[in-house]
């Protein structure tokens, strides 16, 4: 019997920004084609990747596009010929490439994109807002948020694993808060290429690969005879993605340890006997959880839910989770002007998700942190207090409060 020590899954620790961590994920995923066009805060990832290629750490085609639209088209085409491809953008640049983003989903090409969340101009602003990524919500993309550089690196691998699965084959957007995550340097454990190879199989588009040996046409004009059936196919892929997501996280845990636990789509913090919780996307989790910890010390039964996956939306899992509480405060770092109750996009998703539940919590909504405005621990404590009031007073159910605006 030979005793061989398995190779360590993490090889070193480095101080990395969120963008640099994504670049390491792309390097470890051995991506074949990168297309780039600068816009802050996404830009730092293209800087990091070009350096890795120049230093011989990554063997990939690096194509500077003339705009986001061309950038996104380039990776879409690269993906169709069997290249693992990466691109990304932020804010208005992301919106400029939107036509290409839509067809990448309808053509079911599993590209991974970074969205470094940025306010949509005007006015010109670099700071985080989630409306850029949320614009994908009905387009047939996978979409999730990460909250630390470590998660960012690992979710490049998890993202490709799910997107490229033959049952799914959908593009995936990895969203991260501009500035607070894209540009903040943290210590990150970097996995070994061997461990990554065990987790992430090579990209194989099978008989859908565009190649002279496999003559096919992709996306001819189809019109009303075909469109509805194709939409139905895409829906089915989004449904199958739910099983693949769970499986991918379980495989990830088997190799890399228990950083992510069921149901994977979201993390619960201090919720076990909680009566009131806040739920949000992205880095607001740190002040949110810290506020919950402090209020617990004063006897408040509060907790925090960090929603990671937005598409597919974890309907059943989140309904089961949130129906236990007396009141839920939904934090939106976005706006949906003119929508029901003038709430944010996440409010509508969560209210809709909870409507079929026989007993529902009161739901209040907080619009906060727009355009990169900071959300402090004190802001989160105020949100908890308002949500606790909603649990006691019927009248506050459905209230939308702007937190942190000068008024």
């Amino acid at each position: 019997m030979t005793l061989t020590q398995p190779a360590p899954v993490y090889v070193r620790e480095d101080l990395l920004t969120g963008c640099q961590a994504v670049a390491h994920g792309v390097r470890l995923a051995d991506v074949d084609v990168v297309s780039a066009y600068p816009i802050r805060p996404y830009t730092e990832v293209m800087d990091a990747l070009s350096k890795m290629i120049a230093d011989g750490e990554l063997d990939a085609e690096y194509i500077i596009a003339d705009s986001e639209h061309s950038q996104f088209e380039i990776v879409k085409h690269a993906s169709s010929v069997g290249a693992r491809a990466f691109a990304g953008s932020s804010g208005t640049g992301w919106m400029y490439g939107f036509e290409a983003l839509v067809v990448t989903a309808t053509d079911r090409l599993p590209v991974l994109f970074l969205v470094g969340n940025r306010a949509l101009d005007d006015p010109g602003a670099f700071g985080v807002e989630h409306n850029d990524a949320l614009a994908l919500r009905d387009m047939g993309w996978l979409l999730f948020w990460v909250t630390t550089p470590q998660e960012a690196l690992e979710h490049v691998l998890i993202g490709y694993r799910i997107a490229e699965d033959p049952r799914v084959r959908m593009p995936v957007a990895l969203a991260m808060d501009g500035a607070f995550l894209t540009h903040s340097q943290h210590l990150v454990r970097i996995p070994s290429p061997e461990a990554v190879r065990r987790f992430l199989p090579p990209y194989d588009l099978g008989d859908r690969r565009l190649h002279p040996d496999n003559p096919i046409s992709i996306a001819p004009q189809a019109n009303e005879d075909w469109v509805m059936e194709l939409r139905r196919q895409n829906w089915e892929a989004a449904r199958r993605a739910r099983q693949v997501i769970t499986q991918a996280y379980e495989e990830f845990r088997a190799i890399f340890g228990d950083r992510y636990t069921p149901p994977y789509y979201f993390d619960e913090f201090l919720t076990e006997d909680a009566e009131v919780v806040l739920i949000g996307l992205g880095t607001v989790a740190s002040p949110g959880r810290t506020a919950a910890r402090r209020l617990r010390q004063q006897g408040h039964k509060v907790g925090y839910v960090n929603l990671r996956w937005f598409r597919p939306f974890p309907t059943v899992e989140l309904r089961e989770c949130l129906r236990r509480f007396k009141a839920v405060g939904v934090i939106d770092r976005d706006f949906a002007h003119g929508s029901p109750d003038d709430g944010g996009a996440l409010l509508h998703e969560i209210r809709s998700c909870l409507y079929p539940a026989r007993e529902r919590p009161a739901i209040v909504n907080f619009i906060s942190g727009l355009g990169g405005r900071d959300i402090s621990i004190a802001d989160c404590i105020r949100m908890f207090e308002l949500t606790e009031r909603a649990a006691r007073e019927e009248a506050l159910d459905g209230f939308v409060t702007w937190i942190g605006v000068r008024e």
């Binding site: 101080l15 920004t17 805060p41 005007d122 006015p123 670099f126 700071g127 501009g178 500035a179 607070f180 540009h183 903040s184 340097q185 943290h186 210590l187 880095t283 607001v284 740190s286 002040p287 959880r289 810290t290 506020a291 910890r293 942190g369 990169g372 900071d374 959300i375 402090s376 621990i377 605006v405 000068r406 008024e407």
Partner: protein, 396 residues
């Protein structure tokens, strides 16, 4: 407990330097068993030449990384700093970041008993004449040296990075100890000179720490802007123009009172009006339109708005007529032309005294660093036309 370090740096030229210092504070502190992270003030626009910007490092011996992040991470600026590092001493005149923050004292964030660490060749008293008063005691520490100015995207490897780490270790060894700094630099860079530079700076700074008493320093002359409420400004992202106004003479052109920009300056152009040929090139080329036409055909400099880019000195065709001079040699932003009109000989003596014997050259593009060349004291009215090469740098 949280230790906050802010690094005040000059946009673009010191951006990489500041990031390296911030990151390495975290790396050294983590080797001492602490948690930390580092980021920049995101609302800055550090691609603008010379604009005052900030980088931060946050370290805690007892908090979790998440709690530290919650306290310090999702914030645009910090409320207080245990150590404020100043990488260019001309920033002691105040710092005005990109838009709407107003001109702030360089020590604004320094806590009671905290440290303001300035890279400078000046004496503490020279610096304190510019620095705002605090209601409590703190320390001023000086790391002897010149501001490290690199090129547009270049990092100038002149050991400032290592020396600042050593200096911080001298001020607060519980944040980063000298031994940990030396061990880190030896492990990372494999060049003994780097750890030696840190130790030397540590020893130098320990001799140059001075208590600044409550009330010592300057009464801060600039108002901090109060931002309007959501219903107090125009809809549709409309910003009212500054009312148009022009008349011949000093300050005769209307300019934006809310954003004066002069804290971006490390050097200012000193004009010898007696040598001026009235060619207008300075007025024409100035990217910030700082030159005001005067009734005698000369051009006054409005130092409130001059960012010290040096373009006027570059295009001026007369020897010694416009020369860039260290900003800290000047008391205020008053009109040089008015001084010249009042007392021509006195002004020329004053200008030559300020210029001194050396001319400073910053080859910004290649980042080879500051160089000095001998200057010349030209007699009154002796106009010598020089053909200047229109290039942005000198090779040394």
């Amino acid at each position: 407990m949280i230790k906050r370090v802010e690094i005040n740096y000059r946009g673009i030229f010191q951006k990489t330097l500041a990031k390296k210092i911030g990151g390495d504070i975290v790396m050294v502190a983590s080797r001492m068993g602490q948690v930390g992270f580092s980021n920049g003030r995101y609302s800055d626009s550090p691609e603008r030449n010379g604009i005052p910007c900030k980088y931060f490092a946050f370290v805690s011996p007892d908090l979790s990384e998440e709690e530290l992040e919650a306290e310090c991470g999702a914030k645009l600026d910090i409320d207080e700093a245990n150590i404020s590092v100043v990488l260019d001493d001309t920033m002691v005149k105040g710092v005005e970041p990109w838009g709407w923050h107003g001109i702030r004292p360089i020590n604004e964030k320094v806590v009671e008993g905290g440290y303001l660490l300035v890279v400078s060749r000046k004496q503490p008293e020279e610096l304190l004449q510019w620095i705002g008063r605090k209601p409590y005691d703190y320390h001023l520490a000086i790391l002897p040296g010149d501001a490290s100015f690199a090129g547009l995207w270049v990092y100038k490897d002149d050991l400032t990075h290592e020396r600042v780490l050593g200096a911080i270790a001298a001020l607060d060894p519980s944040l980063i100890s000298l031994e940990a700094v030396e061990a880190y630099l030896r492990d990372k860079m494999h060049e003994p000179a780097r750890a030696e530079a840190a130790r030397q700076a540590h020893d130098e700074v320990r001799q140059r720490v001075r208590v600044v008493k409550a009330g010592e320093g300057r009464r801060w002359p600039y108002a901090i802007p109060e931002l309007p409420k959501w219903n107090e400004f125009a809809e549709g992202v409309v910003v009212r123009a500054v009312p148009r106004h022009f008349e011949i003479g000093p300050r005769g052109q209307s300019r934006n009172e809310q954003f004066k920009r002069f804290t971006t300056r490390t050097q200012r152009p000193v004009v010898r009006f007696d040598l001026c040929t009235k060619c207008m090139l300075c007025w024409y080329d100035c990217p910030d339109e700082c030159f005001d036409p005067t009734p005698d055909g000369l051009f006054d400099v409005n130092y409130e708005y001059c960012v010290g880019c040096g373009r006027c000195a570059q295009v001026c065709p007369v020897k010694e007529c416009i020369v860039m001079v260290d900003e800290l040699r000047f008391e205020d932003n008053s009109s040089p032309w008015e001084f010249y009109r009042r007392d021509p000989q006195g002004y020329i003596r004053w200008a030559e005294e300020k210029k001194g014997n050396e001319r400073i050259v910053y080859p910004f593009v290649t980042g080879t660093g500051v160089a000095t060349v001998p200057g010349e004291h030209v007699p009154e009215g002796q106009k010598t036309v020089v053909k200047k090469q229109d290039k942005l740098e000198v090779s040394l």
